[in-house]
Subunit: 192 residues, 4 copies
């Protein structure tokens, strides 16, 4: 019931978030290299956030694939996740424009941390409504090392940003790399 | 006939509305706390409007779920609802930038009032075209206390905004809370 | 083949066009009535264009409903229509900001004229690929008085804008009203 | 598995990219011809990029049509393509605002080149996961003269832009024309 529409709405919001970020790459007035140079950190933060939203879209895609039943809690847990992700363009632009300064870098981590937490809540709601601990999804994510490590790394990166900002940025890149190694857990479960 | 496309178009517009609002959160030039502080009221108004659009999406989702027949009136009643909701980013931004001043707060209420009225018109059109008073939807929303209370609270909040603006804002928050308690009416009817 | 995706892409573009227009309603800095007043013509032009895009979406919806076969010509005729409609936010904003001055009003007419012409081309391509003159759609739009009258009125409005701009604006409103009276031709044909 | 959602997300992103570009056509303050004139190069670059995104959408549409199996590599190859296409609005705006100056023209070519390369990678991933060299798609694109010629012309245009910028622009227009002649390869294969 209504799964198609939940996916369509999420796809719409994620597609807009991922595309709207490029608007922070403001067209410069000059037409030479020096005009382009200040955009480099904005571009790098765009690449990082594009990958993060891509990871969320891909995992969201896999998670909803196993779902059979939709209820009110799932609708709102999903909106809650989209809320935190909708803040990504703002923190991306802020971090990029300020050359990865301490506070913007920390806030970027806070938004990523909250989005990851919202993802867990959504996962919990879907499992509850779709067979509980015996469900396909529950088994697939039982250990969920990647998710736990990501949460931990975000939590470390936030205070670290005020001490050594580049280390925090490196942690965000690390988490992205961890996830880019594709998550075959659910795929494998289905095949078995 | 055409129900899927009506849903897809509505989902698209609602996804854009909910995401475009975040563009009002303009990236500040500084990178410290004082630079972030003026954004607080804009952020709060964003959260409130995000929840409102989420509520509309969720209710719209449930209402269209029961619908079997689409006609011209439903298409236009739906566009009418989307028109008022498309003004939400504007009034949200105006209210946020002016720290919930009297006139923006009142105008926010006017847009919410008109959107709620447009929702009732859409509901009426769907019931008319899908079995009338004996239909599933008609029975599910027969009493519709939430809808009536919301309309009343908006109508109260609009003049109150000019007298005590924070009271009006509190009323908007109250309506959002009323709706966040999930509307199980239609879900229950279907199960029965 | 591929009809669903053609609809989805068109819905996406139309949803964005209709929503992006509201961004021309720039949040004013003051919070009183005088701050709101200069937005009135922008708002009026927004309402007019919202209705026009709504009409196109609704007619497009009906036209594609009868379609069975998609080919390359239809894809490109559809993109051509979307191109002209994508210019609507620009001419709407220009017309609104200049209080319906002569040249913006005329250009608004040019874009509407070209969009209407593109719609005819799309209609022709769909009829060609779906049974020709004997097809359901061909019969439904055989006379197409509304379409021809609209084209004529746009063609009149463009030069008239330089002479008496309000008359041209009145013609645009008139065309919108003509179409708002719902087009039951195709609906009726299907029922018969 | 999941093909519908991959298409929906891609359609969403492409629809937003194609529509967001029009935002670079900033509403001018005057209401006469001289106010409109500086927008001409921006408009021309918009037309060119609209056609390019249309070509990508159309080819993407045909390519995914033959696809039966989706896996993680396809998801990411698709996101990689969307990443490069998401930069099109930026380079379009930069090229338009600077009247097709050398560096923006060259960068436009770089983005087109990378998007074309990403398209090939996606094609390769789809073929690998859907039957390999014996698959319908593999046979349809076996020679792929258009694709190879485009890549070559982009590679030529990039250095040429620094020497004779108009020649580079002419090459971009030429590639667009090559592709506008519809690609019936896949269509023909399916019919056979």
């Amino acid at each position: 019931m209504g799964k198609a529409r939940l996916e369509a709405f999420s796809d719409g919001v994620l597609a807009i978030i991922i595309t709207i970020m490029v608007l922070e790459l403001k067209v410069p007035h000059g037409s030479d290299w020096p005009a382009l140079q200040p955009l480099l950190p904005v571009f790098l933060s765009y690449v990082l956030s594009f990958i993060y939203i891509g990871i969320y879209w891909s995992n969201h895609h896999h998670m909803l694939h196993t779902m059979k039943r939709v209820n009110g809690s799932i609708l709102w847990a999903n909106l809650h996740l989209l809320f935190w992700l909708s803040l990504v363009p703002f923190v991306t632009g802020w971090m990029g424009e300020n050359h990865f300064a301490a506070l913007p870098t920390a806030l970027y981590g806070v938004v990523l941390f909250m989005a990851a937490a919202a993802y867990f809540v959504l996962q919990y709601c879907i499992i509850s409504a779709n067979g509980g601990k015996e469900s396909l999804l529950a088994k697939a994510v039982e250990r969920d090392r990647k998710g736990k490590v990501s949460q931990l790394l975000y939590a470390i990166a936030i205070p670290v940003a005020f001490w050594e900002q580049w280390l925090a940025d490196a942690l965000y890149v690390l988490v992205a790399i961890i996830w880019l190694i594709p998550d075959r857990r659910i795929e494998r479960m289905i095949e078995e």
